[in-house]
């Protein structure tokens, strides 16, 4: 009986100390979480995670299934010490782990984004290099973009027909780069409209976009020596409600019958409603967006569509400024690098399936973006 009791005690003792945990400061965060790792798991049903603050008792903060090994406690305060214990539960038995300690600390640099930093540096270097080349007067070949070649024709058509041009800068905010790209194109379109003395209507959904668009058009008219032709009321704010804005722009298209419609910027569900209404009025339509789901709608309903990056290239393409054209060349080389990386990574991924080349999976991990 005594032997049996001793054996049972020894068994419990060994089980108690077979569950081990480690408490780590979660990397790359603002110091608001700790990671509890089960380094030596046990055959249990589930785990209970307990936390203790200085001067307080242990409290249950979460559970892990028998397969899970990591728990992130994001209810902690930076620079405070916490103790953790994990209890493994199997039927009615409880197995305690060692007590782990941790202090959540904030990091200044997110090391998980090193790959992004490297990418930005390489890409920026390429752009600046080609801008420098363009500054020296070197001629750079830029492929034709039919949608942008058609801008001149579209403005000319409106002039001939004596009808206005409608420019919709999307429904994005001024913080969207696509909206800024659209505003850059607006400047070029406004210059042409001013030269041809054609009415340019710019309805806006965002107040900040409205104020910027207003200044862009006003400045464009001044730049071509036609400040007198600028009409304040033609650049206007409508509403920030998505479909109310769509209805208003549709109304403008139906009533004013613009000869040319530009839909450039960020678009969502309203893209097809706008483009189809414009097509029904018989206007020549040039659209451009970086919103991939909206591109098919523009392609079927518009005469020309700037797909993704073409929207960003438009300003340089239209202005033909060497400095801006240089950046386009940099973009092209950036794509070449991406293509090269894709090919190499695909090859490495295939090879990493073989145990001998499993090291390659570590290299591929570098390209994961967090």
């Amino acid at each position: 009986m005594r032997k049996k009791f001793l054996f049972f005690n020894l068994l419990i003792f060994s089980l108690i100390f077979s569950l081990e945990i480690k408490v780590l400061d979660t990397p790359n965060d603002a110091g608001n979480s700790l990671t509890i790792l089960i380094t030596k798991p046990m055959d249990v049903d589930y785990y209970q995670i307990y936390r203790k603050e200085e001067g307080k008792d242990f409290i249950l903060i979460g559970k892990l299934t028998r397969e899970e090994r990591c728990f992130i406690d994001d209810k902690v305060v930076r620079n405070k010490t916490y103790s953790y214990q994990v209890i493994g539960i199997k039927d009615t038995l409880k197995f305690s782990s060692n007590i782990g300690y941790g202090i959540p600390k904030a990091q200044f640099f997110n090391t998980a984004r090193i790959n992004v930093l490297v990418g930005i540096i390489v890409f920026s270097f390429l752009i600046l290099y080609f801008i420098k080349k363009a500054r020296k007067g070197e001629k750079l070949f830029i492929r034709r973009i039919s949608g942008l070649d058609a801008v001149e024709e579209a403005v000319g058509r409106a002039t001939e027909m004596g009808k206005p041009i409608l420019f919709v800068p999307g429904i994005g905010s001024v913080a969207d780069i696509a909206t800024i790209a659209a505003l850059n194109i607006l400047g070029e379109v406004a210059k042409k409209a001013a030269q041809y003395d054609t009415t340019l209507l710019v309805p806006n959904r965002d107040v900040l976009v409205y104020t910027v668009a207003y200044e862009v058009v006003k400045e464009a008219y001044s730049n071509v020596g036609r400040p007198d032709a600028f009409k304040e009321g033609n650049i206007f704010y409508i509403t920030d409600s998505q479909f109310a804005y769509t209805a208003a722009v549709d109304g403008i298209m139906v009533r004013e019958k613009p000869a040319t419609n530009f839909f450039l910027g960020t678009f969502y569900a309203e893209s097809l409603i706008l483009a189809e209404t414009g097509a029904a009025t018989g206007a020549i339509q040039i659209a451009g967006t970086d919103m991939v789901p909206q591109l098919p709608f523009f392609i079927v309903a518009c005469d020309y569509t700037l797909i993704g990056e073409e929207l960003y290239a438009a300003s340089a393409y239209l202005s033909r400024e060497p400095l801006l054209l240089g950046s386009l060349k940099g973009q092209d080389y950036g794509k070449l690098i991406i293509l090269f990386i894709l090919l190499i990574s695909s090859l490495l991924l295939l090879l990493s399936n073989f145990p001998t080349f499993s090291i390659f999976s570590k290299i591929i991990e570098f390209f994961n973006v967090s």
């Binding site: 997110n110 801008i131 400047g187 650049i235 709608f297 990056e309 960003y312 300003s315 950036g334």
Partner: protein, 207 residues
């Protein structure tokens, strides 16, 4: 000064926002939150300009009896009524402005959204006219994908859902990712040009 001040501000803020992206530290997060607050404050001021713009445009339309000026009267009335109701009764859950929002604006928005279904049909008709080789390819792949997504497709042949899935996840995804790569590079290039003051279109020109 009129040009160099915005350019200088743009450069400083651009660089700070890049640093912020790479730093998870609370100071960095606090800076980001402050910037978001500033944007809200600036938007609130800009809204005054927006209201002025919409009012002037519609008053002008009514004065000149432009085509559809009746809509301008409605717009101006709606602007005044909602503003007065909002200022007098507030924006609480039982405020009249909520009634207007829930019973007028929401159904009108839903109506506009539902029109999309009809426009999709007309756009699909135009896209699927097999006039060229590409349009024929589009027609065939769309036909397979549509069949693969509905129960009848599976009933005709169990291969339809699998082929539809393959079209969506392989050729379609490849094209989509290709576009996204271009977009990402375009965004970086445009941002860089703006931060460095090479692209000044947003300032109204390049003088």
């Amino acid at each position: 000064m009129q040009r160099s001040l915005p350019l200088g501000l743009c450069f400083i803020m651009g660089i700070l926002m890049i640093i912020q992206f790479f730093s998870p530290h609370p100071i960095s997060q606090q800076f980001f939150d402050t910037i978001i607050k500033w944007i809200r404050i600036i938007s609130a001021f800009a809204l005054v300009l927006g209201v002025r713009s919409i009012s002037l445009r519609h008053i002008e339309a009514v004065k000149r009896r432009k085509s559809g000026f009746v809509y301008s009267i409605f717009t101006l009335l709606a602007l005044v009524i909602t503003a007065v109701l909002g200022l007098v009764f507030g924006i609480g859950p039982k405020a009249p402005i909520r009634t207007i929002f829930n019973n007028i604006l929401v159904p009108l928005g839903a109506t506009m959204f539902s029109i999309l279904a009809f426009y999709m049909a007309s756009a699909a008709y135009r896209a699927f006219r097999a006039r060229t080789f590409e349009a024929t390819l589009l027609l065939i792949s769309a036909f397979i994908v549509m069949l693969g997504m509905v129960p009848i497709g599976n009933w005709i042949s169990p291969h339809f859902p699998a082929i539809a899935e393959w079209i969506l996840s392989v050729p379609n995804m490849a094209a989509k990712r290709g576009i996204l790569f271009g977009v990402a590079l375009g965004v970086i290039a445009t941002s860089l040009k703006i931060i460095l003051g090479i692209e000044r279109g947003w300032l109204g020109g390049r003088r």
